[in-house]
């Protein structure tokens, strides 16, 4: 009875765009100059919006929110591979992805200011609302994937989460069920190295997130998350696998959260400035700009123009947001059930009467 290897696997890492702006021609996904421009423009818009939101938050005009700065390569590279009839199941750090899907900046500002009317993402966009309980939404992606397959649609589902989410039971259940039911789902982990203060090395003893796929019999791969071409390539491949073979994939985008966890956090309490500075040098937008300059797609004038255009759009959205009248108290009762129940009717009437008396 010999002892022999039964199975052995390896996990690949995909890199296309080097830090000096050159690319691996063989791995470079086919993207037109125009598409690359759009990628870049959207990454810039995401960044400028994030920065403006941060200022608004500091002025007290928005509540707590989670920034995307530094993760644009991972986030935008992934959604760029989606078709409009695919589904997106986000967590809470996905403002850039949501914008790409057609959710407006005004709406996002409304939501993050504490007005739940902003959560009404139009159903036609096939983009689920923001989900805060970490890890829980991955199972919804599996269910939607199952439904797409059942309906005979060739749409796929992309779901975002952080590496912290991979520690939850729901993560395991989702990957397992996706494997068992062979559903067209791409699990996209933005491994930004921290779940609030907890570093990746304290989240799991596994050296990568990607290898966790193996335990569930599904495909897993790691990409350089600050390399938008690698992200796009891996996501497109995963989506194709999902559409044609209905096979799920786990993608780990290796990136970094250069900001605080949210606007309520202070990351200096648990990590060094040097560590952050090293990652700031690997900025995904700058890396893409490097490439584009070398290709002649971008020069200083064009760069300034794109930034100004983004700022103009953001300013317009902020203006529209600020002219939205505050929600009425009736809003609290409006969407608990399809039909307002008797207790809710009574409670609503009592509330309105109470505030009427105060007027």
């Amino acid at each position: 009875m010999p002892i022999r290897p039964l199975v052995s696997y390896s996990i690949e890492r995909v890199e296309v765009l080097r830090e000096d702006g050159t690319v691996d021609e063989e791995l470079m996904p086919s993207l037109s100059a125009d598409e690359i421009q759009r990628l870049y423009e959207h990454m810039v818009l995401t960044r400028r919006f994030d920065e403006r939101m941060f200022k608004l938050q500091r002025q007290g005009r928005l509540g707590t929110f989670a920034r995307v700065t530094g993760q644009e390569g991972a986030q935008i590279g992934a959604v760029f591979a989606l078709r409009p009839d695919d589904w997106l199941v986000p967590a809470f750090r996905e403002n850039g992805a949501l914008l790409w899907r057609g959710i407006t900046m005004t709406q996002l500002l409304q939501y993050w200011s504490g007005d739940e009317r902003g959560g009404a993402f139009p159903r036609a966009l096939r983009t689920l609302p923001i989900s805060i309980p970490v890890g829980t939404h991955l199972l919804h992606a599996v269910g939607i994937g199952w439904a797409m397959k059942e309906a005979g649609e060739d749409s796929a589902v992309l779901t975002f989460f952080g590496e912290g989410a991979t520690s939850t039971g729901d993560f395991s259940e989702a990957l397992n069920m996706a494997g068992v039911f062979q559903v067209p789902v791409v699990f996209f982990c933005q491994n930004n190295q921290y779940a609030i203060s907890v570093p990746f090395t304290r989240q799991t003893a596994a050296p990568t997130v990607a290898q966790k796929a193996l335990g569930y019999g599904i495909f897993g791969v790691q990409v350089d998350g600050n390399d938008v071409f690698a992200v796009y390539r891996a996501t497109r491949e995963a989506l194709e696998r999902a559409r044609s073979g209905k096979e799920p994939t786990l993608i780990e985008a290796h990136t970094y959260r250069v900001t605080d966890h949210t606007t309520s956090d202070d990351a200096r309490r648990y990590r060094s400035d040097e560590e952050v500075a090293a990652w700031l040098k690997r900025d995904p937008i700058e890396r893409l700009a490097h490439y584009m300059r070398a290709q002649g797609f971008l020069d200083e004038a064009r760069e300034a123009e794109i930034a100004a255009e983004a700022d103009r759009k953001v300013a317009e959205a902020v203006e529209a947001f600020e002219s939205i009248p505050p929600p009425e108290p009736e809003e609290i009762f409006r969407h608990v059930f399809a039909q307002k129940t008797r207790p809710l009717e009574e409670q609503e009437a009592a509330l309105l009467a109470r505030w009427e008396r105060r007027r």
């Binding site: 203060s197 009762f333 809710l344």
Partner: protein, 326 residues
């Protein structure tokens, strides 16, 4: 005497309990190096090290399930759930195991565990960060549920919870964390679980609340007195399970009127239990039906509508007038 806020009082209690008993350990998300997202465990990691102040992976079921095992094996874990809105993955562990291990093993295995968690609104937070779902824990036989109202109370009640032989859910009103300071003795002390507190004596009506609402009923009582409307008795329940009906019933027998206040949804909220107990034990003393001032049977709204949802002083004053008019 030092005047501490609730964050400092709880932190001090944990420090002293850990010094008193080396079996006491703290675990949860970000409780170590970061000192907790509300800074409640500030300084403990530096003092006691990573063996006793444990930053866990992100897994509530994991935290509580593992803490149950630690408790069975002789430790005294104090687990933090970062926000009570994220306690539900751990609910399974609490209901199926923490609350029953004693019963299942006929007392051979026990779970002296504390789960600390912030709860409640008024902090303009994101979805799931403002809930007040104490009733779903009160309904679990075998769990004790404690809700301190101020810093002094928090320190004494938490010390009792840590020393208690059974699992205790300790709900900390996030809104109170830094809002008030009270005198808190430096030396350790305990406040027994299961004993309500008479905050203010009165004769016309009994106001009953716990946690963040205690401040509100107290203010309401002062306003009612200042306006010459009523002298209200104010009762802080402190512990919802076990419920100290005696203090409440004695008071209601004296005043003949009761107003219960909670920010949790109305239906099936703990106010219903208080009301039922008054009905069972003091109905012949009542001059008016028990009045509840509560949140609604809705999702707690986000910041912009939060003030409409939360019971406030004026709503309590109105409820008292209603009771007096009956």
């Amino acid at each position: 005497m030092a005047r501490l806020n609730m964050v400092e009082a709880i932190d001090q209690c944990l420090l002293q309990e850990m010094q008193r008993d080396e079996r006491v350990i703290v675990l949860g998300e970000d409780v170590g190096r970061d000192g907790g997202v509300f800074r409640v465990t500030e300084g403990l990691f530096e003092r006691f090290g990573p063996q006793r102040v444990i930053d866990t992976p992100l897994a509530e079921s994991g935290i509580v399930g593992m803490a149950i095992g630690m408790a069975i094996a002789g430790f005294r874990p104090v687990a933090e759930i970062q926000f009570s809105g994220f306690a539900y993955p751990a609910y399974d562990q609490l209901v199926c195991h923490a609350a029953r291990m004693r019963n299942r093993s006929r007392g051979e295995f026990t779970v002296p565990l504390v789960v600390r968690t912030p709860y409640g609104g008024g902090i303009r937070a994101l979805e799931h960060h403002s809930e007040s779902m104490e009733a779903v824990f009160v309904h679990v036989p075998g769990l004790k549920v404690v809700v301190p109202a101020d810093p002094y109370e928090a320190k004494g009640l938490l010390a009792s919870a840590v020393r208690d032989p059974d699992p205790v859910i300790f709900f900390e009103p996030a809104r109170v964390y830094r809002a008030i300071r009270t005198e808190v003795p430096e030396e350790p002390y305990t406040i027994p679980l299961g004993k309500a507190r008479m905050v203010r004596e009165g004769r016309d009506v009994t106001l009953i609340a716990w946690g963040a609402q205690v401040r509100i009923i107290r203010e309401a009582a002062e306003r009612l007195a200042a306006e010459g409307v009523a002298e209200a008795e104010v009762v802080d329940l402190r512990t919802l399970s076990p419920f100290d009906h005696e203090t409440v019933i004695d008071s209601v027998k004296k005043t003949g009127r009761a107003v219960v206040v909670h920010e949790a949804p109305r239906t099936g909220g703990f106010g219903a239990e208080v009301s039922a107990q008054i009905m069972e034990r003091a109905v012949l003393h009542l001059e008016a039906p028990v009045v509840r001032v509560t949140g609604f049977d809705t999702v707690p709204p986000l910041a912009k509508l939060e003030d409409y949802y939360q019971p406030d002083v004026e709503a309590v004053v109105e409820a008292v007038r209603e009771s007096l008019r009956f």
